[in-house]
Every structure is written in C-alpha cells, then in structure tokens.
Symmetry: D2
Subunit: 276 residues, 4 copies
C-alpha cells in the first residue's frame, strides 16, 4: 500500500548492492511512495552486485560514484540535477567498510592506514557528500539527509572493531553538518541506528548469527528488518518530519532501551544446564 | 494535503484544551489523515476549553475522563471500543500539571502532597492509561502510544520545578511499559520531546518568552510548532514506524544537539554592550 | 591503606542494614579516611539489621529516622550538627524499596498506592533529605551529596518493575536539586549507578544470580563490588571532585558502555548446544 | 595539602605546554600526590613552551615524542620503563589540534587532508598510545588512562569545527580500547569532559570569552578550572576508582545537565534592553 508520501520528490540513494541491502529496500519503497531516484555505488560494487536490476524496478538511472571522491560526487550531483530537472530533496548514505575487519586485524593490532581508510569510507564520505551538495546548492530547502548507523557507536561490541569508532564519527558529522546546513538552508540531517541486519556486509562479521539471536530476544518487538527500516526512513524523507534534525534515531525494536529481557535471560540460563 | 496515513485507524486523544494545544493540532491532523477519533479531557478542562468545537471539526465524540482515575479510564476505553466497533490503534497522552508551579512554590520549598500530585497527573496517568488498556486488551497488535515530553527530563531549567522530574518519570514509564506491552502484544510506546510551545499551559511559565527566543536562536531549524509536532506524531501513529519503541524522540529543530549557535551567541553578546 | 581524604569531614550515612549493604562499606571506608559519622536508618531496619555494630566500628552514633518524614529528618540533622559541632560535609542516600516488587505484583498490574510509596521511599526521600538540609542550612559550602542508583533508570530490566522508574526519578531529583543547591551554596549532588550487588535487598530480586553472572561476563573489569563502590564514593565526598555535579556516574566495570563482550557471547552460545 | 594518593605510582603526562595547560596542572598535582613522572610533548611544543621548567618542578624527565608516531611512542615508553624501573601506572592524553581551525576553514569548506590530520593528532594518537603500551605490555594491571575531551563531542558548538568530531572519535576510542585492554589486563580508560578553559589552545578559538561567560553563568558551580581538573584526574589515577571504565565523565560545574539557569537567562534578557 502506498501513501504517495514522496510524491514529486527526488532523491539519491547511496549504497545498494543487492536485495539484502537496506538501501535496496529503501529505494524500492521510495519509488513506491512516488519519488524519482538516482542510484549510486562504486564501480566495483555495481559490477559485483545487482543494482542495475534495482534501477529497472525503480525506473532509476545508476550513476557510478566513489563517495570518497569529490570529483565523482560533484559529477553525480550535477548529473542528478539534470535528470531531476531541479534540486535534490533527499539523500541516503548507507556506506561502511573496514579493511581492518576484512583482514582480520584485531583492534589492538590494527593498521592505521586501514583505520584512516575505514573512517574515510564510512564517515568522511558523508561529510564529502554534504559538502559537495552545499557547494553546488544541490539540496532543496527543507530537504532531508539520512545516514545508517549502528548502536556500536555508543556501546562496544566484540569484533566490531574500528567500525564502532567510524559510526561514532559518522553520527558526530551528522550533528555538526546538521547545524551548518540547517541554519543556512533548512536541510535536516539525521542518522538511523538500525538493528543488526543480515546484509552481505553484515554476514561477513564473525558471530553475527548469535548476536542477531540475542538482540532478537532482547528487543520486545524483535529486530527491525531491512523492510521495516525502509518504511521508517520514508517518514524521515517526507514533509512530516521537518523539525527533526541532528538526531540519532534508534530503529531496533526497543533493543537500545533494554537492560535485560525475560526471553534473553532464560535462553542465557540454559547455557548453565548440565545435560550429562 | 493528506496521505491517508491513518486510514481505517482509530485513536484516543488525551489533553486537547483549545486551539493552542498541541493535542488539538494532532487531533485535527489525525482526522485529516483518515483516523476515527475519540477526544477526552477532564470535566473541568472540557468546560473551560473548546474541545467540543474540536469534536465538531473531527467528527469525534468527547468523553470526559480524569486520566488519574481507573474507573474513568475504563469507562472511556470501553465506550471508545463501542464507538470504534473494535480495538484502539493509537493513543496520545498530552497531560501535565504541577500544583507547585501553579502556587509558585520553589523547588527547595515545595509541598510533597503537591509533588505526588504532579507525578500522579503528569506521569502515573500514563501508566494508568496503559494498564487499563492492557487489562481490557483494548489496543490492536502493532498499535502505537505516544506521550509528549520536554527536554527538562534531561536538563534542568530554572523555574520548571517538579515538572522536570515528572517528565523524567514519564519517559521512564514509557520505557518500562514499552517492554511489557511490546513483548506481549507488539504495542510500541514512545515519548516526543517537543520544543517549548506557547500553549495555555506553557504561557503560564514565567520567563517563557525569553526561553522561546533563546531556543529559537539555538535551534538551526528554529523551534518546532504545534502543527509541526502534529505532523511528526502522525508518522509515529502510522504503520511506517512499527519497530520504533521505548524511545524519547526529540522534535525540536535541533536544540537538544546544540552546544552554542552563532545566532544565540551574538544575541547574548549584545547584553554586554554599553550604550552610554 | 588510608589517605585521610575525609580528615575533619562530617557526614551522615543513610541506609546501612548489615555487612552486605553498600552503605555499610561506605561508612567503614569513610571512617578509615578520617570522617566523623552519624548513621541512620528506619527503626525497623535498625532492629532487623546490625547497624549498631557498625556504629561501634565507626565510633558513630546511630539515630533512627524515617527518610520520608520531615520531622525525623529535621531531628536527625539537628542532632547531627550538635554531635558534629558544626555543619555536615557529606551525605549518602542508599534507600530503595518497592512494595510492588515485595508483593510480586507485575508492572502491568501494579498497585498505585504501592507505586507512590515506591517513589516516596526510593526517590522523594532524597528530595526531602535535601530540602530539610537546605532549610536548616545544614550542609557546608562545597559539601557533597551522593545517592546510589542503578542502570535500570535508563534501560528496562525484566522484573525490576517500578524500581526502574523510581531510580529515573531519583536521578532527575539529583539534577534538579543540584542546580538549586549548587548555585546557592556550592553543594554538589550526584548519583552513582552501581553494578548489581548481592545485598539483602538485591538478593530478593528473582533471577539476580543469572543477571549478576551476565553482567560479570559483559563488563571488561567485572562487576563492581560494595567495597569498590565505597572507594569510589569516598572520592566523591573528598575535596578533589568539587566541580562534578548533577551527574549520574556509572561504577560498573564498563557494563553500561558494552554492547556485547566475547565472554558473555560465548556463554550465551552454549545455550544452543545439543548434548544428546 | 597532599594525600599521597599516587604514592609509588609512575605515569606519563602527554601534552603540557605551559602554565596555562591543564596537563601542566595535572603533572604538578600528580607529583605532589607522590607520583614519579615522565613528561612528553612534540619537539616543537617543547621548544615553544616551558615544559622543561615543569620537569624541574616535578623532578621529571622530558622526553620528546610525537604522539602520532609509533616509533616515538615506543621509544618514549621503553625509556619511561627504564626510568621507572618498572611498568607505567597511569597516562594522561591532553592532545588536540585542528589545521582547519588554525587556517580558518569553515566546516562546510574544510580541507580533507587537514580533517584526517585533526583526527590523527586529536584522536588516533590516543589509539596509538594505547596500542604501543599494549604491545610492550607497558601498563601495570589496574592501571588508569585518561584523555581530556569536551562537550562538543555531544553538542555542536559554532566555530568548534572538526574538533567536535575529533572529540567524538576520541571518546569512542576510549570505549573500544577500554573493552579490549580491560578484559585482558584490567586497565581502565576514561575521558574527562572539561569546562571550556583558557589555555593557549583555547585562547585561539574566536569568541571563547563570550562562551566562557555563558557557561560560567549556566553552571551552578561555575566553570571548572585547570586546577580543579587536576584534582579530579588524580582521583581517576588513584586506586579508589578501579571499576570506572569506558566512561565520559563531565567535569564542568554542572553545565552538561543544565537546560537554562536563572543567571544566564537574565544576562541574555539584557540583550533586548533599549538604552536609547
């Protein structure tokens, strides 16, 4: 069922790879709600994934762009404004990658070139995207920008490594730029802190199955799925949430406000059972 | 413009007094978005205010009910389910009052019977509303309940007195009951922390003009109005935000994430000017 | 080993019952650090516990006082100032009780007279203690007041019931009164959010063993003990922390900043093992 | 007056420049409390400042070291352990610098090489310091590490630019490494979020006078001075705070918990006066 919440709006979606991607679901939903879209990802991700197929579903052009490159971002936004015949109303940032995680380097023996790369890809890319938009005056007044984050920004998770730090930096950039872009152009900038989700990226984290089981039992409403996230992000792109800015918004079935649930505790309790 | 976001949904709105009320604007907007409503307030408030007029606008019955009374709440919810011919999908709690503030008793000389009354009216009423609904199994699965709060729950404001404590308690009750009602019935419960608003209640707080000027200059998007708040709360009642629960959601133009803005600082700076 | 951190200081300790009590350990430590003390608890608690023995250890008088009674509090503080021949430098509030928990009434079927009693005993008693002190001008400039809290104020724990709400209210009162008493008399007021501790009160909470095991494995430094807490609170009473106020300070081995630890996750993992 | 709180302890102090530096005051106080120290800063800072004079006061060797260089850090810690004839008990990180701020580049037109440099100097240096210590097993069990931070990590301040982001990253690194180093070696890691302070670095921020006036009036206990900060940090280095870790601790006279004070509001009010 569609409400036409984004009727007449135009947006750029960064970071869809394949059907597992949260960005994929957000694109589909935004399209259903009436938005005109441009999709983007790195050339490598476009080759490896199925984003062209998504472009078909959404009637959207796919423009390759490395979000750490000014040149690419400038080209992307200029092209988008030509396609849209006007300014951009919303943008989604769903980008994160840690070479340290990929190479299995533990947090107390990480490589600093990799660390800076993690920060550049996962956090500074958001700043670059906003700076480029600001420079080109590419976003309409009362436009909305969302980046996807994770509770690791506030609470340390074993093995999440330097991605927790990258998410903390991402959320800080959302606040800092939210101030600047808000006072000047009424653009709002928020992060959505999503439940752990079994995307292609998520699947690579060791032990994610157990973590997802735990958060599912801890959260009174269960984990939020990629589809749930798409629904939520649509409201943040719509005109109904114009005064929400500089916030980190938990979309996690209640996990972030839980200390201990009955379901998680009774599962944990079983670990002490003696079956001999 | 309406999106029919609440088409087919039924809800109870607590706390509209007159056109200045945030609850008033939420009722109007919910009606426009397709909801069927019941309005309620205390008998005194109904006499003093213009809620019957709101009932006319929204095609809604007005049922008097003191939100601190179980009997009243039970009657209200039973009657509402008769009117709705089914369960309730959403509820708004917009209730707060401090006899200590009214009588001008300062925080370090307050009256404890009044303090308990502040807590009972402004916070326990929310628990009572939820407990009554739970007992009657009155809310549909995936229903949504919202209470209005204020940043005084986290940060002390001169003269706000025991209302800050009441809001902290209110937000805690939202979390505690959100866990219980979430795991059992998939009901979500959140608070919205709204900019200071010039309602009839707000207008009674001494120095609110200066405070509103300050928060306006501090917030990159300016203060959120009652109409803005109505738009936002509609998204929380809709099916698009099903996995958001146990949260306190700032709706304040960015105020809560600001340390110091240029506009507020340059106004403050003027206070030191010598005009002699 | 003693540092004489509280040499010449005088303080009142509320809430020691027996050797398991955190307040007991704080009293012992404060005495060792050179403070002169008055101990207090309700007449019932004094009879049931062994606080007179603590009085012997600390060379402290035990004055019965119900912290919900103004009269008792006024008498207590006047007597203490006589004993001290001067003002009070620090106070500890370690008081909490929920009739709903005791009677096993679940959160969605609690008794509201009990709820108000929980709030009165566990939170308003702190306000009353401060108001009485303020009225009598009983605390020296740069004095320090600490109340013990728990993470349930921020995150819901199954079965912790209305005590979570009471702790949220307690922490709010610390902020609100911290503002008033700070600007007028330079008194600082903080709460310490302590690990779950196996006190007589704690032992009554069903499932506390499993919870303590979980938090022990989640916290990189393990749970904080009552002795650890005593050490920490001493620093907050000392002259070295004069500018810390209106804060909730986690003393929990890191638990509050953890999302998931390796130790807790591998224990949880065992619960899925099939031993057949 | 000294308590010998750090008797027999050995520590490294990073970042003292001159008498205005917070690190300077911490070094002096740590020395008075019985610690043996090594002081360090970059070669340039050592030439420009008066740290050799501080070395004289504290009987401490000054070892030049660039905290962004592994080689320097390794040399520093090895030399320190030789001087100490044993492991290190505590370390202070008081390092921050933004080339973007220095060059006056605004946040929406900053230079990304500079941004990465801000992060490297102000945040990654903390990680490098900890990683080097971990690799050399240089810190004793139950050792304590503190980094100085600022509320800009949570709330945006005009003109504070990318330093707010750097502080957010610094605090995240403290949590992430606090987990790793805590579970393995019982080392605790915290940040202290200090009032704005008129150090040589602070003096360079435009408009800091007005900001300091505002925070002074907002904070019930007034701003915390560098001397106050030294007292507080000593408690965090001592054995009395062993179970506090992964925390950001506000040391700000109450500022972080204030919404609006009477003093600040009445000053603000004056800005609207007409003196014509």
């Amino acid at each position: 069922m569609a409400y036409h919440l984004l009727k007449g709006k135009k947006g750029i979606i960064f970071g869809a790879l394949n059907e597992q991607s949260i960005a994929w679901h957000i694109a589909v939903k935004a399209h259903e709600e009436g938005a005109k879209l441009v999709l983007t990802n790195t050339p490598v991700a476009i080759r490896m994934g199925t984003i062209q197929h998504l472009g078909g579903i959404c009637g959207a052009e796919v423009i390759p762009s490395d979000a750490t490159s000014h040149e690419d971002l400038e080209n992307l936004m200029k092209r988008s404004m030509e396609i849209f015949e006007g300014k951009i109303d919303f943008m989604l940032h769903s980008i994160g990658m840690s070479p340290n995680v990929r190479k299995g380097l533990p947090y107390d023996a990480l490589n600093y070139d990799f660390f800076l790369k993690t920060l550049d890809i996962s956090a500074l890319s958001f700043h670059k995207m906003l700076l480029t938009a600001r420079k080109l005056d590419a976003i309409s007044e009362w436009g909305s920008v969302v980046a996807l984050s994770y509770v690791a920004a506030q609470r340390t998770l074993d093995r999440y490594n330097d991605m927790g730090d990258a998410k903390a930096l991402l959320e800080s950039i959302a606040r800092s730029f939210g101030y600047i872009y808000g006072k000047d152009k009424k653009i709002r900038i928020n992060t959505v802190s999503q439940s752990p989700t079994m995307t292609t990226a998520g699947a690579g984290v060791k032990g994610i199955d157990t973590l997802i089981d735990f958060t599912e039992r801890m959260s009174p409403l269960g984990n939020a799925s990629a589809e749930d996230c798409a629904n939520y992000v649509i409201t943040l792109f719509s005109d109904l949430t114009r005064k929400v800015t500089m916030q980190n918004l938990y979309h996690d079935g209640g996990f972030s406000s839980m200390g201990m649930s009955e379901r998680a505790m009774s599962q944990y309790d079983k670990s002490f059972k003696d079956y001999s």
